[in-house]
Symmetry: C2
Subunit: 163 residues, 2 copies
DNA sequence: GAATGCGATGTTATAATATTGCGTTCATTG
DNA sequence: CAATGAACGCAATATTATAACATCGCATTC
């Protein structure tokens, strides 16, 4: 059933990027929001890989391309992208990653490999349900869930077995 | 069964503090670790309330008490306290809170009220199990879970109903 | 076409959080 | 008491994020 998670295997990553950009154009269009060149470029940079990028990584990349970029440039683009559900912030890393389920309601849930740093975003309803239930039992009205799991991805587990 | 969560109701908070300090002494003693005056004072400051404190809040408090405190002073104490399971870092707030289950194996899980900022730490096995299961299904070896839920606590929900 | 409104951007400065490096002090122990 | 290693003091610096204010470009309206 469940597809082998992409970030940890060879895959045609160009397809990931193209999909993400196409989704972004559609979503922004539907929301009458402007996916300006800077915003699109930041999104594309984030999707260079499945590894989260820090704001200053993005800033450096923009600067190299000759853009007049200061921190607010990047943070504003990131705010926009987050608001439209196109990227997620990984609180435990202070870094940003493209959303793998843009356009779908979901409670993101991240598996972060401490070795290769790839991040897999899951949308596990049974986890979200368990969380909601536990919160409700305490009378707590949950609004926003941060769920980040650090560990070793399948590929890096095999690597460390070689020792 | 489940006790009404403490932070959101009036409670004898002195008992929370005393318990936390007693636990800390016992745990450090058992581990042959030194709960030095600075470390103990930082722990006590963190337990002043159930609201997370930032490192620089702690730093300010120490400075007011006449301690020669620089950032490393606080961060070192916090590292020590985290390593011995006496405090948790709340990644989504860059702040620290006392551990409510010191000495017991647990995967902390935090309900953070965005209004009063109190934090309740739960240890919900069914949530931890759901998380582990989801990770295992992806072949991921989970090591460390960050689970932080922002929302409104029972008391602050009643407050906002008054409108 | 000028005036206006408004979202997006540019620019500078600063705030807030966290770490590195190095020398000194102090507790423990043999 | 000397040796050891953990803990601490101190200065500098790194990293992440925001505040404040000026400007630009474009659409609407007069
Ligand atoms: Zn990909
Ligand atoms: Zn990996
Ligand atoms: Zn209490
Ligand atoms: Zn509250």
């Amino acid at each position: 059933m469940s597809q082998t998670p992409l970030p940890y295997r060879a895959h045609n990553h160009r397809a990931c990027v193209d999909q993400a950009l196409a989704d972004a154009h559609r979503i922004c269009n539907d929301a009458h929001a402007r996916l300006t060149p800077t915003r699109e470029r930041v999104l594309e940079l984030i999707w260079q890989s499945h590894k989260p990028l820090g704001a200053y990584d993005l800033l450096g990349a923009l600067a190299q391309e000759g853009q007049n970029a200061a921190p607010p440039t990047v943070y504003r683009a990131l705010d926009f992208l987050q608001q439209h559900g196109l990227v997620h912030r990984i609180a435990s890393l202070n870094a940003f990653v493209g959303c793998a389920h843009a356009g779908h309601r979901h409670t993101g849930f991240f598996l972060i490999c401490r070795a290769c740093r790839n991040v897999l975003e899951l949308s596990a309803p049974q986890v979200a349900a368990a969380v909601d239930k536990a919160a409700q039992e305490e009378g707590f009205a949950a609004e926003d869930t941060t769920l980040e799991i650090a560990g070793l991805c399948p590929a890096c587990q095999r690597e460390s077995d070689h020792d």
